[in-house]
């Protein structure tokens, strides 16, 4: 129990002294997760919206599959990315293994189905509302997707934050493809795993609280920014 208070104390001191190592790995965590989020959103928002808009033969199965992919085990994603980018793998020549880029790729794979699934769900109701109008106005597929994403942007916040949360807290995949190399690919979660392995719970918890504080900050800023312009119903 006292470990938890030690952890809070550790988090406090890490933050107060702005321990340079902490700053480095926190920034790397943010950089990796935010980049992965941006890439994943660029794929998942249009994809999820398109799935809400388009009827086709195997639509239900496709959606069920996308939903199932939210359960992609990070370790397996890590392994597959590792195998693909390993020296002896097909993309080995790129030399991306054990770099932040590889970590971003793994995270994109992990969070894209999550963001796309939530997006699909959020866009379904809006599409039901807009359906007749957009069909009547002879919009193209791309215009429909664009209109829905734009008008539903505040609803998509949750999708994006879910993706970010999953990315910033994830450890299984980035441990494998990033390698947790000090000063190169170490991020908050891999550092936490390392300290846990050493039995240094106070430090591990301290880093964990820093991570949670970071996630909270991102969430609050996002909510605050998206609230500045206040049209819509609520």
């Amino acid at each position: 129990m006292s470990d938890i208070f030690d952890g809070l104390a550790a988090a406090f001191w890490l933050l107060v002294t702005l321990e340079p190592n902490l700053v480095e790995i926190s920034l790397r965590s943010l950089q990796v997760s935010l980049t992965a989020l941006a890439v994943a959103c660029a794929i998942a928002l249009p994809l999820g919206t398109w799935l809400a808009v388009q009827r086709f033969r195997y639509r239900r199965v496709t959606i069920a599959t996308l939903n199932a992919l939210m359960g992609l085990p990070p370790v397996v994603v890590g392994l597959i990315v590792y195998i693909l980018f390993s020296r002896s793998g097909p993309f080995g020549v790129l030399g991306l293994l054990f770099t932040p880029t590889a970590m971003i790729i793994a995270q994109v794979v992990i969070i894209t189905p999550l963001i796309a699934s939530i997006t699909h769900q959020a866009m379904r109701d809006l599409w039901a509302e807009y359906h007749d109008l957009l069909i009547s106005l002879k919009t193209t597929k791309v215009q429909r997707v664009r209109t829905l994403i734009w008008d539903g942007r505040r609803t998509l916040l949750t999708a994006a934050l879910a993706g970010f949360g999953r990315a910033i807290g994830e450890v299984g995949a980035i441990m494998i493809v990033g390698g947790n190399i000090d000063h190169a690919t170490r991020v908050l979660t891999t550092a936490i795993a390392l300290e846990t392995g050493k039995g240094d719970f106070a430090l591990a918890l301290g880093l964990g609280f820093v991570l949670i504080a970071l996630a909270l900050m991102v969430s609050l800023i996002t909510h605050w920014l998206s609230q500045t312009e206040r049209e819509g119903r609520w």
Partner: protein, 238 residues
Amino acid sequence: MVSPVLPLKVRGVSVRRGARHLLGPIDLTIEGTGLTMVLGPNGSGKTTLLKVMHGLERPSEGKISYGLARAEAERRQAYVFQTPIVLRRSVQQNLAYPLELIGRPRDEIRRRAGEWAERIGLGGALSSPATRLSGGEKQKLALARALIRKPELLFLDEPCANLDGRSTRAIEEMLLEARAAGTRIVMATHDIAQARRLATDAILLINGAVHETGEAPGFFDAPVTSETKSFLKGDIIL
């Protein structure tokens, strides 16, 4: 000056949803200039017929054809829904939307959106969120948004249901003006007086089937069947 979208031909069209037979079989031709009024009791299939003609609902049987290829023909139409659909945007952006879709220049869009907002009495509410408008204001907005692209074929589903007397009159003037400018109109209404004022010809739907059709003065003044007579008096028995 008849639009090349016409004639709109409805041939043997039926609509079924699940086990329910909603409409048809219906044969109709919309051509020339004018305003065809679709009348009928609640649930008789007016909305369904309008949507099928506009290509929004697919008929279970039969065919709809236009004077032009379908894609081109659909581009020249507009539809105002019974329950107004407003985009979760400002009044200005709602009016601008159909023009943005077809890539009109920015200042033209701004100008025309402004003009139309004035015409429907929302000139002062350009930047208000459209979702907060009153029922009647939403309906007027939806109508202006439909007219802004100058459609050649216009479907109106009870466009004046929530409007006050003056707005109704203003809208009717707009419709007459659009008609004069070459827009062919098909409209559903429950307001028999309005139907009389506007229609060049009328269709009475009962239980999804065309019960009687005719040129305007005759249809209203000397209907053939007794059902039509009592419907026009406001007391049809289903």
